[in-house]
Amino acid sequence: MAGLLFNDIFKVKCVNPDGKKYDKVSRIEARSEKLSMYMLLDVNTEIYPIDEGEKILMVLSPSLNYDGSPVTSYSDQEGKKSLADKFEYIMHGKIYKLSDEGSGSDLKVEVYASFGGLQMMLKGDPIHCAKFRVDQNMFLLLRKLT
């Protein structure tokens, strides 16, 4: 799977850090185990409930096809093997902003993406963020690890 932009396991630290604002959507604060990235993510918890302390595998990928070719239509998904099969929750969205924080070796990069208004913010070392581009469309795939 060379086409993946990002791939790590997150542990949910907190659900709705700013208090519950919406019925169907919750904001998740999580930290990844491998790359120790910090993440804020809005998830439709009505259809995919997430609780504090759960472990989640998250993948960011530009395509759902294994060969990395762009998804052209929804109809020919049937029967074909797809990345989607292995995940429980998939969103589609776009990276709209990259910004840096701090300086020197402390430099952190923040990656912002919006999935139709559901926000994602990924903060971590610049090295892990090299593949991200502004205006890049991508899929976010989640799977709970038990």
Binding site: K24, E46, L107
Partner: protein, 1312 residues
Amino acid sequence: MEGPANKGCKCATCHANFGDCPGHYGYLSLALPVFNVGYFTTILEILKCICKSCSRILLEEKLYKDFLRKMRNPKLEALRKCDLVKKIIKKCTSLTSGNKSMKCSRCGYLNGSVKKAVSMLGILHYRSRSKDAGVVSEDLRAPYNVSNDILNPFRVLSLFKRMSDEDCELLFLSDRPEKLIVTDVPVPPIAIRPSVIMDGSQSNENDITERLKRIIQQNASVSQELSTSNSQPKYLESWDMLQSEVAQLINSDVRGIPFTMQVSKPLAGFVQRLKGKQGRFRGNLCGKRVEFTGRTVISPDPNLKITEVAVPIHMARILTYPERVTSHNIEKLRQCVSNGPDKYPGARMLRHLDGSMRSLMISGRKRLADELKYGEIVERHLEDGDVVLFNRQPSLHRMSIMCHRVRVMPWRTLRFNESVCNPYNADFDGDEMNMHVPQTEEARTEAILLMGVQNNLCTPKNGEILVASTQDFLTSSFLITRKDTFYDRAAFSLMCSYMGDGMDLVDLPTPALIKPIELWTGKQLFSVLVRPHASMKVYLNLTVKEKSYSKVKGNEKERETMCPNDGFVYFRNSELISGQVGKATLGNGNKDGLYSVLLRDYKAHAAAACMNRLAKLSARWIGNHGFSIGIDDVQPGDQLIKQKQTTILEGYRDCDKQINLFNTGNLPPEAGCDAAQSLEAKITQILNGIREATANVCMQNLHWRNSPLIMSQCGSKGSPINISQMIACVGQQSVGGRRAPDGFIDRSLPHFRRKAKTPAAKGFVANSFYSGLTATEFFFHTMGGREGLVDTAVKTADTGYMSRRLIKALEDLSIHYDSSVRNAGGCIVQFCYGDDGMDPAQMEGKSGAPLNFERLFLKAKATCPTDGHKILSPSEFSKTVEERLSKNDATPECGCSPAFIGSLKIFLNKYVEAQKKSWGTLLADNESDVGKSTIGSSDNDDIVIRNKVVQNIAGVTHRQLQVFLDTCLSRYHTKKIEAGTAIGAIGAQNVTLGVPRIKEIINGAKRISTPIVTAALKQDDNVNIARMVKARIEKTNLGQIAKCIQIVMSSRSALIEIKLDMEKIRDAELYVDANVVKQAIILTPKLKLKHEHVNVLDDRKLRVLPQDADRSKLHFNLHFLKNMLPAVVVKGIKTVGRAVIKEEKDKVRNAKKFSLLVEGTGLQAVMGTEGVDGCNTKSNHIIEVQQVLGIEAARKCIIEEIKYTMESHGMSIDIRHMMLLGDLMTFRGEVLGITRFGIQKMDKSVLMLASFEKTADHLFNAAVNGRDDKIEGVSECVIMGIPMPLGTGMLKVRQRVSVPQQLPYGPPAILS
């Protein structure tokens, strides 16, 4: 014969019938001449100047020649000539002023002063009877003989007849003065005084006819009494009566009519016909009744486009448009003609090629339709797409009348899209609106291009958008874009089809949620709304902070899109990235909302189309979704009730504590207040705290579905205060900015104890509207409510009059092709409009800056993808900028103002600096890493990756920068104001605000209510120095610094001894001693004391001796002095009330900065005070600034003051409007108020002045002076009914015409 009296007969003079005879004047010769009241003052003035015997000017020869020479100067304007005449009259009256008499230097006749007789129309000549005039003036007190010589019209007439033409010229009379006296009364024709035939044979005669009847009667009796001749006093009485009758023919409310003749409702005279709002000038010449108009009730229709108006079919059948038959429309018009006037779509009239008209009421329409020829004109019914003007009164600004396209619809109301409510200020509670149908193709074109809704989306007040979504549209958009609205494929597709009429192409976006089920979010719907399909080239980029955006606390980073309330609206390439849209994005009154950006970047059509889509979507969506308000929305929860109870109790307890303190006299006073005031201030503060606290609790506990909460959050209606008043607590009611006043003795209502100051007794309403008000609370609430109503009523009247004055003063100012602002006469008011020649309606940036660079930069970055292109380094960046800005279209010669280029450079430099910083850290990192990196290649890779990442983050490519610079420059050039714009009228519409201070400024008031001089200090960091200067400026009386002022009477002398309180003087740092006091006493004029009367004993003691030696008066004198001395101003400026030290924080030096606020006038004296920095001292008194610093300073002062006042009232108005007003008020070299006196001096035409105020006076004066009017201003052109030289009327086509050969005229042949 004056003309036919009724329809039946023919004119005996011109033999035309009733309709064609223009009418002919007759006249009535009077037995004795009478004054013309209109010229009465002129007659008086002339009489003051001439000798009452030889009719020559009273001035001596040299002065006379001098004045005549000045008067004959051909360059002198009429206005200056009038001033000169005034000067001459003043000179002449001064010769005979008081009881002096003056010997005529030519004939030796003794002239006295001439005055208007009291309570009658007559002129008195006070004349001394003593033989030698020279002696009279010597002893004024001596009794003298005065004969009150009445100058009757007959005598005046003979005097005037003998005046020489030269003398007339000197007095600026264009014609012979004897014409000012009426010898024959004109009898106007019937057309001017029509008689109305009542049913039957009764006829109601015109007032003028009635008056003429009475004149004839009176004239007959005068001539009869004259012929009998023996009864001299009797005919004089009749003559007076005749005089008043003739006077009332001209002006029926003239003063000086005998009481017996005054009736309750006087007959209107000619002056009454002309003047006033309903008079000829304002009622019939400046505004006329027109045809092709409709008016009915309005109602909303979100399915209409914003440019459309639905016209009821009944109206469409009556209103017509004359359409010429061509090959394109002949079939349509044939149908119209054959349908006739009653069946839609039909026609009412047919105009044949020869110009004859044919009504289509008749039955032979079929034949007419078949015979329709090209070139004929059919007055057809209105049809879809016709152009109409739509208007709602009051028409306060340009957008109150706009041009719409017709949609003929059933039912009986005029309908339009709610988005257009704002400019008309319309609602649908029964408002009516007017519609006008332009009748020519030219008029239609001009209307749609200049007044079309889509060309007037933003206001010229400050460039904010005015036509924008309102009310329900905001609510539904707000709900749609909520973060937790999700739609499945069916719902989403349905809603996409709501946007249009079902025929539009829509590309569905990829669903935001793909698994476990496909779901789209509301935000994606909004992305579709902005850009429905991929072939649409609209890339919207904007960021807006909504009301709900969570503010950053302390030093936290801005959370922007991650805002937990989703209050940060971010559109990126027409995709709604984040944010719940509300009023700040979609509503009116902002400059970087969605529609503003669409309008600026993709022109009016894109913005209008988007508004249409949103209107349709939201109307249909909210129809399905439902949005209502019920009693449960305003029911407080248990927690709220409990918390409210505790807050109110706590607050009441606090108040009681304060009241107790006050009653025992222990209340610490606040600065500048007495005990009662500070109590009020404290209590008000506590009570406001209560309301706020309860409101906060209330707002926090509401469910997000609460309808009032939603409405207040999205900004469609209501505020948090309204909600908490309904649910929690209504709060303090105020009358005149204070708590409820005492209507009874020592209490507000008899329900309370006397002197009660408790919150409830002074109008605090603890209940909510839901819980219900108690009787007293209700009463207080009505008190507050009434004040609001009265205020609005008064304000409307005030504002209306001010707007009228402003318009009259500014109406003829327009931009010329050299970008100067000139009035109708071509006189320059501004050399370059607003100093940069920009159109205020198109300004994008804050506070009138042409462009919002940040947004444009964002857009340039978003629309030009970075990938694959090289990122510019800071030095490359600067180079590119430099290169672009040295091109031709960025130079001042090509119209780029240096200020604009400067601001652009500042913006780019800021960016470069930031870039350098990040590059700097990176490069430094690099270098330090380079040393290490030779060891392993992995480190090197790291650096490369890091490098790349950082570059991606903030870098700019060459193309992005180029696009940004190009947009900036090209857009700047399109924002130039167009030549011909009537910028004066636009400015006048926007400056209007009914605030007393604005009124003062605009009136150019000589005395203003709060004059304040702001004095900067030379050394502004020391409070002691400030205090010293303050002491120097502030007025100090002797009473304030004296220990005692007492009368000392001894056997030898009686005097007043003054002891100074040196300690006090030193404390106040006044530097005053007895010598200074002595000087001050001597210089006080009222005391009339001289040097020898004041003796200085030592530094602190002085004695004052009364000046009169008269022993009998000594005692009184002493007491008089004792009373007066304490008021002697020892030190300081007399005109100054008090001075306050103002403390400011100086951010640059991080130190306190002091300045002085001096109440009162005396700018010059303050500036001259030692320690004051005169160069930076300002005053808010415009007239004083003009006197002290000159006209340019006054202009600056006007602009600053208006700006300050507007800002403090929360109005943002483009500075260019204020500059124009400032320039107009000062362009004549003196400060002219926008009042009738000021406007008169602004070089305006007589017709314009007559149509403004004092109609008759201006006309009579103009007649005396023989003024001519060039008819170039707006008012004059409107009155005359010709196009005005403004806007599209500014241009005239010049054509080279070969002049036809002039035929030689010879003397007519004697024989032919």
